[in-house]
């Protein structure tokens, strides 16, 4: 079974120790940042920042919320990046982590385009850039340790364990403190399920996550500059990769065979037509104005 991380945003204090632990364990450089009018820092994920406490100020049902959400690769059960990658550089280990093979990648960045969470990031500053993203501390996991961010979390906002255990823990928390949580475990079903589960008091649309409803909330306007795009992307419960994989497996060969059959038919028809015309061959083809 797969390993899963549970993020309880109601417990997070935004100390950002997880960001530091991630940088330390993975030897990632600090980034020069600029003030964007929020404590969120660095402002966005990058090839050098694999996890980030996203901070949003939200008004919901007449109440003010300062919401903190640790963003990182969701390690989907059915990762779009893995289906997308033409060379199999993106791959999934049996225990869950979605990993990236430096030596195979050709830098086409289809994984970045395909990921519904926009987690793969590219080393734009390098002459030969690679894709970078959270790898779920697969190296620590292999030694029986939890990811560095979980280890360091002082507020108890991060838990790590078997997926079933984490789902059970999350649901237990929802039952124990119903007033504290929206009654939904994000990641249990979204896109076929993810190995990062999230609990929140706010609807997940506010957190900028693709949701099952994709309903645009009146207060929310995620803009697609320069074109507007209300709300957040919609993510069904079926695996995001289902249609793609089925089509690749069965569609491609069917198209090849089908087209070949049509071609054979057309050739047969063409020959028949040519034969039918044969007797009239000596007559120079006259102009044939189409009806």
């Amino acid at each position: 079974m797969t390993k899963t991380m549970l993020i309880d945003t109601t417990r997070c204090t935004a100390c950002r120790g997880c960001q530091i632990a991630c940088k330390q364990w993975n030897d990632l450089p600090a980034e020069k940042t600029i003030n964007q009018g929020t404590y969120q820092n660095p402002f966005r994920l990058s090839a050098y920042t694999w996890t980030l406490v996203q901070m949003r100020e939200v008004q919901h049902q007449g109440q003010f919320y300062w919401s903190f959400l640790k963003r990182q690769c969701m390690h989907c059960l059915h990762p779009a990046c893995v289906s997308a990658c033409p060379v199999g550089a993106m791959h999934q280990t049996p225990t869950g982590p979605v990993l990236y093979n430096d030596a195979r990648c050709i830098g086409c960045r289809y994984c970045m385009t395909a990921c519904p969470f926009r987690m793969p990031r590219f080393e734009w500053d390098k002459r030969l850039g690679h894709i970078r993203k959270c790898h779920f501390c697969f190296d620590r996991q292999a030694e029986g340790l939890e990811p560095a961010c979980v280890k360091t979390c002082a507020a108890g906002a991060l838990e790590f364990g078997e997926r079933e255990e984490m789902i059970a823990l999350a649901e237990a928390r929802l039952r124990a403190r119903p007033e504290r949580y929206l009654q939904h475990v994000y990641g249990k079903e979204e896109g076929g399920g993810t190995n990062v589960l999230i609990l929140s008091v706010l609807p997940f649309e506010y957190l900028g996550l693709p949701t099952l409803s994709g309903k645009p909330l009146p207060e929310l306007e995620d803009t697609l500059a320069p074109f507007e795009y209300l709300g957040v992307p919609t993510l069904g419960t079926e695996p995001v990769t289902q249609l793609n994989d089925d089509l690749a497996r069965y569609g491609t060969p069917s198209i090849a065979v089908g087209v070949a059959a049509i071609l054979a038919g057309m050739q047969w028809y063409g020959r028949r037509r040519a034969q039918a015309k044969e007797p009239a061959a000596p007559v120079p083809a006259a102009k044939e104005p189409k009806p």
Partner: protein, 387 residues
């Protein structure tokens, strides 16, 4: 032998205005190549406007447009070789060359687009059959070879190499068939590529029948390209415009576009997304623009015999069809994809320069080929005839 020499001499006499055009094309090509060197030296971040929010820029949009543009080669080949309709044979060589140059452009631009271009061969070494990017890259490679083979008789004939010429000719039907199968896969897989973006691509464009829609628009767009290239080449190199033949293709374009429009409408009805058409958002307006430019306008022009039998009717009908195709591919590959708030992408001048260089190089090669391989365009000054 003397006729060969005379032909060559005639093909080498050239007017000053033509020299000027060729020089400008050569200069733009050189600029594009120079910028490409800078791009490979300094990397994608320094030479493009792409970011993590816009991991794909105009290069990809260009590619997904040029591939269906180049589909003219396979649709025309299907008509000629498989329906055994020899009348269209005169149209084939310039169209196949245009398709070949289109694919060459795509290969060049794709190489510039790769973050790790020195590892491009990994696409052959490591396969993930579930990736439509894998299918696309294989189809690009194989179909480019097929187009080379399809065009080679013109060159072999010119060189007077009888043996190879006869050999290639005898296998024509094989690689024409291979080209049609590869093209069907390639054009549809360009649509399949966006299926993974169900969450991110706007519902007006995302549909499970994207591969079918992409294939249909490729056939219609490819036929538009046949008309466009044939008319322009005839005008530029003083050959008669074969209006009757092209009008037949124009009628087929109108038919395919009507079918495409109906499918698109049906898809929105079935998905219950008709309401999205009337939200008045910028994206819905873009959708309408695409429908008007890419379906309504070309169908209006090309469905009327009076208009499609004229040179300008053919030209404008095909241009409208191609612009609509370009807008559709631009919408799918760029505008209708969800991005984080406040991010914007304006192409870097170097991205544009590389595209301009690629197009200039293709036009330059086409112009030179028209000079050095005059038989490519058929006999000069010949009257239009149906046979």
């Amino acid at each position: 032998m003397t006729t060969w020499r005379a032909q060559l001499r005639r093909s080498l006499t050239i007017s000053w205005s033509e020299v000027l055009v060729l020089l400008v094309l050569a200069a733009l090509t050189a600029l594009g190549l120079g910028v490409a060197v800078v791009r490979f030296m300094r990397g994608l971040g320094a030479t493009t406007s792409m970011t993590d929010a816009y991991p794909w820029g105009i290069w990809i949009s260009f590619d997904v447009f040029v591939v269906p543009f180049s589909a003219g080669a396979f649709t025309l080949a299907a008509v000629v070789y498989l329906l055994n309709d020899e009348r269209y044979h005169v149209l084939v060589p310039p169209v196949v060359l245009a398709g070949l140059l289109g694919y060459a452009m795509v290969c060049a631009v794709l190489l510039a687009d790769l973050g790790l271009p020195h590892r491009f061969y990994n696409i052959i070494a490591f396969l993930n059959p579930e990736s439509f990017m894998f299918e696309i890259s294989w189809c690009v490679m194989l179909y480019t070879i097929v187009l080379l083979l399809e065009f080679s008789p013109v060159i072999l004939e010119r060189l007077g190499w009888e043996g190879p010429h006869r050999l290639v000719r005898s296998f024509t039907i094989v690689f024409v068939s291979a080209g049609i199968i590869l093209s069907s896969l390639h054009q549809s897989s360009l649509g399949s590529m966006w299926l993974l973006l169900q969450a991110k691509l706007h519902a007006l464009w995302w549909t499970p029948i994207l591969p079918l829609l992409f294939l249909l628009t490729a056939v219609a767009g490819g036929l538009c390209m046949v008309i466009f290239v044939s008319v322009l080449a005839a005008k530029a190199f003083h050959r008669p415009v074969r209006t009757h033949l092209l009008a037949n293709l124009g009628r087929a374009v109108a038919g395919f576009l009507v079918l495409y429009g109906l499918l698109k409408l049906l898809d929105l009805v079935v998905a219950g997304e008709l309401g999205l058409l009337f939200t008045g958002s910028t994206l819905s307006l873009l959708f309408w623009a695409e429908i008007l430019l890419g379906i309504v306008l070309p169908v209006t022009i090309l469905s009327q015999p009076k208009l499609r039998e004229t040179c300008s009717g053919l030209l404008w009908g095909s241009i409208a069809g191609l612009l609509g195709l370009a807008l559709n591919r631009g919408n799918v590959s760029m505008f209708a994809i969800w991005r984080p708030r406040g991010t914007i992408y304006t192409p870097h001048w170097m991205e544009v320069a590389i595209l301009v260089g690629a197009v200039a190089a293709a036009v330059l090669v086409f112009a030179l080929a028209a000079r050095l391989l005059p038989m490519m365009l058929g006999p000069a000054g010949a009257e239009e005839h149906g046979a």
